[in-house]
Symmetry: C2
């Protein structure tokens, strides 16, 4: 992996001095182009062994470009806000918006590599993490990001020599710490682990670029040129590959599907409803105050459904059983400007609850495979890849202790018409039916197809869909509450089992 | 203060049942009105003694309004991200955007009251804090927020009775903790401290509303009605008072001002420049790595100046002496949609550096009293109050350990013309002069007046302005770097003094 980076690459100071002004002017130019177009962000990872010039290179990139549109993110120990959420949360919140450059000094690779060297992570765990990383980077690239991953390499002797040299110079001595020398002891392990990590994550769309770190001029010029070329190509839309889109999704040729099979006539009489509602509200209220929940779990609820299916009413009943200080309801409408400058899932990541808290999403990330698909707001290739991205996302939530409960509230076309008319006659302006609602209704069949695909492709063991027969509001509300209680109970029971095992 | 809230106020259950549906319908209506208009946020503070029904009331407000457009924020111990920034940071980040309702369960009042009761805060400190709070709330109101502050009161016996009753009911028993009873012991102190706090912060624009907490129906209906009436008035723009604007700012009738007195002919020869630049860059580089800085200080740099005065070049030289992982450059352009939905200063609060870090603002909150004033982007009353708000803001920064260094880079009109022309001829498109630059130039005198007022009104002991003679770029850059070093050194020396005293 590192063979080519131990050859003693060098650039003499004179060449460097001649080259830099031109490089710099071009870098600035392309930086301004991308800033104006705001079409994509640049994500630069600077990693490698100690003393290989990571900090110096970052500072040089700043001096070559306009530093006002670059941000550098150093990740040391996670803050308490970070550690009570999925481990990728801190990186999502740090992503540069379209048009800007984000340099990651330390990244999603740092912790796994360190943990593996220290023996805190098994090989199988590491490989699982690398899979996650590959999928994350694929998503970034698909969302338009230019991802450049640099690994600065030094031979073992080279590293020792560099550390000594840095220590001698009063301007750089501070970069060398006791830890630097300690890490020199684990040089071989680092090479081995890093070699594995780099090979597994060396993908076509986000390949590793290994650079010998011995000679400052060589390293800097190499990085500068690669960054420049990559940005130029991207600004000019060169080297973009058309992704072959899969064959169209096939639908059953009879009339049967997961929605048509629902028994929408199910009902609850008022009396039963009130007893059951009270029962499950009380149970939920206890569950979210259970120390086992508060200490290590969180709750993520997703409400999707036909227009007028009663999402709002169900959400109210769920919310009523929790303390307002414990949950946030997140209504999903059109993304804001800041959200549009980020990958699709970013606006959901930012609302993830901490441990012990709940987030109730009124519509959700599934918009991608529902309204965006049906209305043609995004390309087929984009909503097709969303299924896997969403599964990944929910998997990460689940890994971090979140219980993810997803509801699709279904009503019949007739019932919807009845509710639309009822709303139109109501005195409260808030219930005015919009033209959009009527338009959506015309696309009933398209939505059915989209919902069926969504359920098939994203109902996982960790985050299954619950289809709710919602023609009768009472029935729907109780089913929703009961499902949440059961899922929470199962999760807590599962945790107890794990504790006992140990 | 609490006399009227110990009279045993009551509403019978029947009246309550009759009143609620109407109240609810009206609340929903007005909530949707404000959501559509997006003109102002509602900030509701729910405070008071334990067992007085704070949680219940919040939950009730949720069930009466559309919970999707309400957020509730509970503030317990600050997270590490919060505690390494000014103490108001956590509240700023939680402010609801225009159109939404934010309920604060625990607020900027909680900590001072608790600290005072526990003897961790002197009376004079408390009063200082209350001044801060008054100014903060005045700012919120001036920025359009509807601020409703509720204090739920119980007599001492009333509190004991309520706690016992809550404990008995299995649905509410969890609300009563050991701490509730412990706080009962400090009942008298709480009354005394809270009475003082409430009196001092009972302003015309954000008065306290004291509600007896004994009877659930009385308390709920009272709060509901007050919230409704206040929102209705605000939506209909009733009860808005025209603020009398002060007499116009007077300018000296001769030609002398702080800018005209600058000696713009000051120069540094290339040789001297290079020596000096290297010297101060090295010094700054050491200062920001000094453990005394890293442990408890942060650095906030503000760059303002005439167009083409060389802000960017100076920022580069400053940035070059720090590690990119330690600072963020924050270029201030037009606010984003999310920023426009918040009070003016919100977009600067969100970029405040943590302890040990630096933020470099390329243009800043001073836009309010410069471009917004000159171009008429905000009302006279708004930029006039900005001086005091900005001083407050910087005072809070400084209190939290930030060294605030502010630069105005001044060039002569001739020099600006020369630079504009030079830029127009340059090959790099990034330096294209826009029509706006030429238009700004026509308003030279207006800007001079605005700058002089700004300097007079916001150059404080803690955060003085440094006017930089910038006709000669070398001179300007060295002056900037030297000033930062001196301010940092003074701050660290000051800290040493304080440590020795103790």
């Amino acid at each position: 992996m590192f063979e080519s980076a131990e050859l003693g690459h060098k650039v003499d100071k004179k060449t460097f001095k001649t080259e830099v002004p031109k490089l710099r002017a071009e870098l600035l130019d392309v930086q301004y182009d991308m800033l104006q177009k705001k079409e994509f962000p640049v994500v630069i990872l600077i990693s490698g062994v100690d003393g290989s010039g990571k900090g110096e290179t970052i500072n040089l990139l700043y001096s070559w470009m306009d530093p006002r549109h670059i941000s550098t993110l150093a990740f040391s120990a996670p803050s308490d806000e970070e550690s009570s959420r999925p481990y990728m949360w801190r990186y999502w919140r740090a992503l540069p918006p379209k048009g800007k450059v984000g340099i990651f000094a330390g990244s999603w690779y740092s912790q796994p590599i360190t943990d593996r060297i220290n023996g805190d992570m098994r090989r199988s765990e590491l490989d699982g993490r690398l899979d996650d990383i590959n999928r994350f980077e694929t998503m970034l690239v698909n969302e338009g990001a230019l991802v450049l991953k640099f690994w600065f390499h030094l031979s073992k002797d080279g590293q020792k020599t560099r550390l000594k040299a840095l220590e001698k110079d009063p301007r750089t001595a501070w970069r060398v710490t006791k830890e630097s020398y300690e890490r020199l002891k684990t040089y071989n392990q680092l090479q081995q682990v890093a070699g594995h990590v780099l090979r597994v994550t060396n993908t076509a769309h986000a390949p590793w670029i290994i650079v010998e770190g011995t000679d400052d001029e060589y390293r800097s010029l190499t990085v500068g040129r690669i960054v420049l070329e990559a940005m130029k190509r991207r600004v000019n839309q060169e080297g973009l590959q058309r992704v072959p889109v899969a064959p169209p999704i096939v639908h059953p040729i009879d009339e049967k599907n997961v929605l048509s099979e629902l028994d929408l006539t199910q009902k609850l009489a008022k009396q039963t409803y009130e007893t059951q509602l009270a029962k499950y509200q009380a149970r939920l209220s206890e569950l979210v105050r259970d120390p086992r929940f508060v200490g290590k779990r969180s709750l993520v609820l997703v409400f999707e459904g036909s227009d007028a299916a009663g999402k709002g009413g169900s959400i109210r009943r769920v919310a009523a059983s929790m303390d307002a200080r414990q949950y946030q309801i997140v209504p999903i409408a059109a993304p804001t400007e800041e959200e549009r400058a980020q990958p699709y899932l970013w606006r959901f990541w930012r609302h993830l609850p901490r441990t012990g808290r709940a987030a109730i999403f009124d519509r959700s990330w599934y918009g991608r495979v529902l309204v965006e698909r049906v209305e043609g707001f995004c390309a087929e290739a984009d909503w097709l890849r969303a299924y896997a991205e969403i599964n990944d996302f929910e998997h990460q939530l689940s890994d971090a202790g979140a219980v993810v409960v997803k509801f699709w509230l279904q009503i019949s076309a007739d019932e919807q018409l009845r509710r639309f008319k009822e709303r139109q006659d109501t005195e409260f302006k808030r219930f005015k039916i919009t033209d959009e609602d009527w338009r959506n209704r015309d696309k009933w069949d398209d939505y059915v197809a989209a919902v069926c695909d969504m359920v098939d492709r994203t109902s996982t063991g960790l985050a299954p869909w619950t289809l709710v027969e919602a023609n009768d509001k009472n029935f729907a509300r109780v089913k929703v509450l009961k499902t949440i209680c059961e899922r929470l109970e199962a999760a807590l029971k599962d945790d107890d089992g794990k504790t006992t095992e140990k």
